[in-house]
């Protein structure tokens, strides 16, 4: 083929394009096989969630392809009517949104102070923050559980939010400080000469210019908090548990309630998947920022 592929396919239409796509040789076939392998388990869960519990316990989800009639949205309608599950879904939102907002706000404030306000011991404090990046969350669970017990935060959504906020901060400060230091210092100097205070510089210059990093951080923190189970497992009770814990507790009778499990798991995945695909660009750039800096 001498002509550029794009021109040829434009003439050949959709069918031609598909042929072209698969005609690229072994490489593409391998890529397709791997992609399918990566996707099949998720598709399996999705199709299971669209089958009745009787079907799910007597045959595999792949029978859908030979008997499409068994598909039903009954599981989802049951789930939406299940007060406990929907409550846990709301809890997840109640935990995730404040924990994300708090980390972004507090992290941005501190990131700015580390980047542009001179104060004694700044470098040492930054070293402490970087060391704290290494602290596994597990280390904090027992003392904080005791502390929450003493001050009455145990079992509350607030306790979980505060914990996630504290653990999100080292990464937030690290990421935002690195980004903020790249903002040209002359801009800040000019603003200072014009009589702008720190707060004004922060809100008028740093925040608008730092928006890409803030967006990346928000997505990260959102996904981490939404997908967390360990923290919630320890600090919440039956009324404040998020959806991950609710699903995990259903697992004890795996097989008996595959319908609830599959639909619930899939429902809990939809929000992060939508966030992920909508903001994929920021997500990838955040990964790269975190890795090359």
């Amino acid at each position: 083929m001498t002509a550029p592929a794009g021109i040829v396919t434009a003439k050949r239409g959709v069918a031609g394009r598909i042929l072209d796509f698969f005609g690229k040789g072994v490489v593409n076939i391998v890529l397709v096989i791997v992609a399918v392998f990566w996707l099949v388990p998720t598709i399996g869960l999705f199709l299971s969630s669209l089958r009745s519990s009787v079907d799910n316990s007597h045959s595999g989800w792949w029978t859908v392809f030979t008997r499409p009639a068994q598909l039903t949205i009954e599981n989802y309608s049951n789930l939406l009517g299940n007060a406990q599950f929907m409550g846990s879904f709301l809890n997840t939102i109640e935990i995730t949104v404040p924990a994300t907002v708090l980390v972004v706000v507090i992290g941005a404030l501190a990131g700015y102070a580390f980047a542009w306000i001179r104060f004694p011991g700044r470098d040492w404090l930054l070293v402490v923050v970087i060391v704290l990046l290494a602290v596994p969350l597990q280390v904090s669970l027992i003392p904080i559980a005791k502390l929450y017990g003493d001050i009455g935060l145990f079992g509350s959504v607030v306790g979980v939010i505060l914990f996630h906020t504290a653990y999100g901060l080292p990464f937030a400060i690290f990421l935002l400080r690195n980004f903020f230091t790249q903002i040209p210092g002359e801009m800040l100097e000019a603003a200072r000469i014009d009589g702008a205070g720190e707060w004004r510089i922060f809100s008028r210059i740093i925040l608008p210019l730092g928006l890409p990093a803030i967006a990346s951080l928000s997505i990260f923190q959102f996904l981490w908090t939404w997908n967390d189970m360990l923290v919630a497992l320890i600090f919440t009770n039956a009324t404040s548990q998020p959806v991950t814990v609710a699903i995990q507790s259903q697992l004890r009778q795996f097989g008996a309630n595959i319908d609830i499990l599959s639909a619930g798991a899939f429902l809990s995945m939809i929000v992060p998947l939508v966030v992920f695909f909508a903001f994929q660009r920021y997500f990838v750039s955040a990964l790269l920022a975190g890795s090359t800096k």
């Binding site: 593409n28 791997v34 992290g107 704290l132 669970l141 504290a166 697992l251 795996f254 992060p272 890795s291």
Partner: protein
């Protein structure tokens, strides 16, 4: 405070009056101390300040019987002195702003991370009620019991296999997909598990691994494939030691996408001239890949390997959701939770400390690599 007032109300009237006056004077004295004495410079005042910083928290600990309150008071006192000191030098506005920007983060980090890390380390050397010190007993318990050793070994197996395989798969995929058609879609498909929670991923794979007795219809895809090929269904998650490997597959499934995205970006950053020069020298694709591309993306490889290593060390959700650590699949993070649930706080804390000690060298190595890289630039 209300307890204090309630307690006062039970005393005779004359004692009440005296106590209230004493309390009043104490508060006034405290305020005076802060306004008048604290900001003064000079050696004597520095000594007074230091003494107050140590004595008041100690008194608080004696009377309130709580380390937490003592720490809080010490932090407030120390912070107060620091502020007053700088107020005199830099002007009120500067200080107010600095505190406004930093205080929320510092307070949350101190209470959420610094205090608990110290607390856990202390608890690791105490008995299960956190009362008496027992030396290294908890650690000895972990490393002398077959079960405890198994837990540590499992964790090490996770850390050895997951980063290696995820990185190899991710690198291979990134290299093959580079500049091919539909690159974005393929990348998104492999990257997608990153957005799914570990719990969600575990449920997905529990469906794949599900096993039914011989003769019954299988509902797990893997066993169905085995049966289609004429085999007998296997209980994937029950037979040690292979069950750990089937759990590891789940984390590889999640982390490969991460490795792929980072490495793909790094591969695009390898200068085309170098590859062309190598091609002119008559090297084949494999030689070019091993001798030009891989050294070119070395720093990204290190980041990917260390990041995935840390994730594998901390793995909890997958083990908890799929086997809860039964059939010899437990790992440190899961055992920490199990021991805590069983009211063995000492052992639980010891597991946490072991985890911290295992994570630490990886982070230090990573930080040093990043620093080295910066120096080169």
């Amino acid at each position: 405070m209300s307890d204090f007032l309630g307690w006062i109300a039970t005393l005779p009237a004359w004692l009440q009056i005296i106590l209230v006056i004493v309390a009043f004077l104490a508060v006034i004295g405290f305020l005076l101390f802060f306004i008048e004495i604290a900001p003064r410079t000079g050696r004597r005042y520095t000594v007074i300040r230091l003494a107050v910083c140590v004595l008041v928290p100690l008194l608080a600990m004696l009377f309130l019987g709580s380390v937490f309150w003592a720490a809080l008071i010490a932090a407030v006192l120390g912070g107060g002195f620091f502020l007053l000191d700088y107020r005199s030098r830099q002007g009120a506005g500067y200080l107010f702003q600095l505190v406004g920007f930093l205080a929320p983060a510092v307070i949350l980090l101190a209470i959420g991370l610094v205090y608990p890390t110290i607390g856990t380390t202390i608890q690791a050397f105490q008995d299960n009620r956190s009362r008496d010190f027992v030396g290294f007993d908890n650690f000895i318990w972990i490393f002398t019991q077959p079960y405890g050793i198994r837990v540590v070994v499992n964790t090490i197996v996770w850390v050895l296999i997951v980063p290696t395989l995820s990185t190899i798969f991710g690198l291979a995929y990134a290299a093959f997909i580079d500049k091919s058609r539909g690159e974005k879609i393929f990348k998104a498909l492999v990257f997608m598990p990153m957005a799914i929670s570990f719990v969600g991923a575990s449920i997905i794979w529990k469906f794949v691994y599900d096993a039914k007795p011989v003769g019954d219809a299988q509902i797990g895809l893997l066993n169905q494939i085995v049966v289609w090929f004429g085999g007998e269904p296997v209980y994937w998650l029950q037979n040690s030691p292979w069950n750990t490997f089937f759990l590891i597959v789940v984390l590889i499934w999640i982390q490969t996408g991460f490795a792929m995205v980072i490495l793909s970006a790094a591969i695009k950053g390898v200068p085309a001239e170098q590859l062309e020069a190598a091609e002119l020298d008559g090297t084949n694709a494999w030689q070019r890949f091993m001798n030009v591309t891989v050294p070119g993306i070395r720093s990204s490889l290190i980041v990917v390997l260390t990041t995935i290593s840390i994730a594998s060390l901390k793995v909890f959700d997958i083990v908890r959701t799929m086997t809860a650590g039964t059939n010899e699949t437990s790992v440190i993070a899961n055992e920490m939770y199990t021991q805590w649930k069983g009211f063995e706080t000492g052992r639980s804390a010891a597991f946490a400390v072991v985890l911290f000690l295992l994570v630490m060298p990886i982070i230090i190595y990573n930080a040093r690599q990043i620093k080295k890289q910066r120096e080169i630039r």
